[in-house]
């Protein structure tokens, strides 16, 4: 199985503060993704990356930015957190067997 770790796993912050979530994978997978999970909406793609320094927007990218300076790390940044960004965030990578492998999730609460 691919190894994906997310940090932090839980975070509480205040409106207007910047937040960075980190995703680290050890399998040298090219494609990586950030999704948010919300009741009634399922998982929605925020941003994804198809290589180092190659990223693109997903369906709910407003208010988020990403960076990928190394194959193994994919960072998600909320420049100025809002309460609507309270969610569970999942990182994933596309494995060599053609499936998405997910991290354990990061629960973010914006007060």
């Amino acid at each position: 199985d691919a190894g994906i770790t997310q940090s932090p796993r839980h975070k509480v912050t205040e409106t207007g503060t910047p937040v960075t979530l980190r995703c680290h994978q050890t399998e040298n997978h090219r494609y990586m993704y950030w999704y948010r999970q919300d009741p009634g909406h399922g998982l929605r793609l925020i941003h994804y990356s198809y290589g180092v320094k190659d990223t693109d927007k997903g369906e709910v990218s407003d208010g988020y930015s990403v960076s990928r300076s190394k194959t193994e790390d994919f960072l998600l940044t909320l420049e100025s957190a809002t309460s609507s960004q309270t969610s569970v965030y999942f990182c994933a990578s596309w494995t060599n067997s053609g499936e998405l492998f997910f991290g354990e999730g990061s629960r973010l609460t914006v007060l």
């Binding site: 494609y31 993704y33 999704y35 009634g40 909406h41 399922g42 998982l43 929605r44 793609l45 994804y48 198809y50 693109d56 997903g58 999942f90 596309w94 053609g98 499936e99 998405l100 492998f101 997910f102 991290g103 354990e104 999730g105």
Partner: protein, 108 residues
Amino acid sequence: AQRVTQPEKLLSVFKGAPVELKCNYSYSGSPELFWYVQYSRQRLQLLLRHISRESIKGFTADLNKGETSFHLKKPFAQEEDSAMYYCALWVYGNKLVFGAGTILRVKS
């Protein structure tokens, strides 16, 4: 438009009863579909995909292109099947589009 619809937010069945979780999709290309499962407080994990035609944990799903459906079925539900189930569609650019999910509750 690329879309996955799971019409049921919650499906509650008794242990031993048959289960069918519905999934419909909209995609102009040749569809590749997946079912993912999330047990309580765990990461999402792949349950099955249509191209492999496997039966995992007793679950099966058949792609019906005429009805644009990929329903997940199991003949006899078990309590350990209680989880959130997501149907997902592969789209160009190596992305998965997910449905809203269905919570399956299996009652004893």
